[in-house]
């Protein structure tokens, strides 16, 4: 099991966000996590990414408990968010070299060129990130996240702020990179139900701080998804 969360609770003061959530992802799973604003999607991803501590419950990534060897667990993760984590006054090449040094990526120069090619930014590698469009910045953010070849990808609304065309292109790129050379485990949150369904193998719906529903993407037609989602959210939120 690549990701396992058991009875995960996270509260901010007296306000519980996650209420005993259980989650299991196997190697190669591409799972989309849906849920309304405030459902706890980002909180869950931040806990898995070691950026926040759970109030209680256990989390294991690749069989390693999250509270042990946090530093080595971070090397297993690639995180893409609506924030790019990039330095706008450095160019693409410098950004990737910087992160590559932090992740101790071997043959860094060759690897940086390889990932820049994969995301189609090799022609703009020496331009400052500040001059990039939002879509290009997000593609560079993907290059940053896969630079160290992580087995687990966590994507927190990666298409926020992109127009439809750019978001479709990004979705295709993510899907391609998820199965590129190895079977990565991907957990993605999004508000775009159709894109989430199209990209993933499994849909999870988070409501009321718990996983309220789980379906294989094949078992749901795009036109059924919206009703299924809203029914689940209203039932889950009422619990």
């Amino acid at each position: 099991m690549m990701v396992r969360a058991h009875k995960l609770v996270k509260s901010f003061g007296n306000r519980p966000v996650l209420r005993g959530l259980d989650l299991e992802l196997r190697q190669g799973d591409f799972v989309t996590l849906l849920g309304p604003n405030g459902a706890g999607k980002t909180t869950l991803l931040r806990i898995l990414a070691t950026l926040a501590r759970p109030t209680s419950g256990t989390v294991e990534l690749a069989g390693i408990p999250l509270n042990e060897a946090k530093s080595s667990i971070r090397g297993l993760l690639g995180v893409i968010s609506h924030q790019t984590f990039l330095y706008e006054d450095l160019n693409a090449y410098e950004n990737l070299r910087f992160y590559g040094k932090l992740y101790e990526v071997p043959n860094l120069t060759a690897r940086v060129e390889e990932v820049l090619n994969k995301v189609g930014l090799e022609q703009r590698a020496i331009d400052r990130v500040r001059t990039y469009s939002r879509g290009m910045q997000q593609r560079l953010s993907i290059a940053r996240a896969i630079l160290h070849n992580p087995p687990i990808l966590l994507l927190d609304e990666p298409d926020t702020g992109l127009d439809r065309q750019a978001a479709d292109m990004l979705g295709g790129l993510i899907r391609e990179l998820a199965i590129d050379g190895q079977s990565r485990t991907v957990l993605m949150t999004t508000h775009n139900l159709e894109r989430g369904l199209a990209m993933s193998d499994r849909i999870l719906i988070l409501a009321g701080g718990r996983l309220a529903a789980e379906r294989s993407s094949k078992s749901l037609a795009p036109e059924q998804l919206q009703d299924f989602y809203y029914d689940t959210v209203s039932l889950g939120g009422a619990r």
Binding site: T50, L51, S72, R74, L77, T84, Y103
Partner: protein, 227 residues
Amino acid sequence: MPGYLRKVWAVYAKDVRAELRTKDIFSAMFVFSLLTTLVFAFALPAKLLDPKEVGGIAPGLLWVAYTFSGVLGLNRSFIVEKDKGSLEGLLLAPADRGAIYLGKMLSNLTFMLLVETLITPIFGVLFNYSTFNVWLIPVVLLGTLGFAEIGTIFAAMAINTRAREVLLPVLFFPIMLPVIIAAANATTAVLANRPFDEVLGQLEFMAVFDVIFLVLPILLFELAVEE
């Protein structure tokens, strides 16, 4: 170079490279320290600026200019990271938090020392007061090192709060005060050519303070940046 030091260097070199491009932090710090110095030079009564009197107040004013501009730089160094989301990028990396702290602290120290190197002779000219003495170098180095060490960890803590610009000096100055007092006293003694024994005690105090506040933040930085 061992992996730990390579990561310290990576963070430091990244900060310096970005600053060389934008000069955001340096220009803000330098202009602020210059303005502070000018305000002191023109607002103080003339009798205090008399060559016989100025030695009693100038070192303190010089350290006020250093510390005010230093706080500005410390605030900026983390605001740049936070506003672009790159602080989380740093925290996601499998790098020891102590290495990230050291890289940020060294870049803050570099920017502060650079501003101090430029502002000190200007201060000397405006106050008609000689600031050239080789023993001033260890005094400024040790005082600024302590300032950067404590300031960097407090800036990291303050960055997640709403009133971050206000909170940093409020949290930070009470702890920093002993070092600022020691540095100002040592500067007074050095520039008045007093016996070296008077300076040595202050240097020893700052050195001990610097060692303690180098080790503690390395151990505590993980807690400081946690949500």
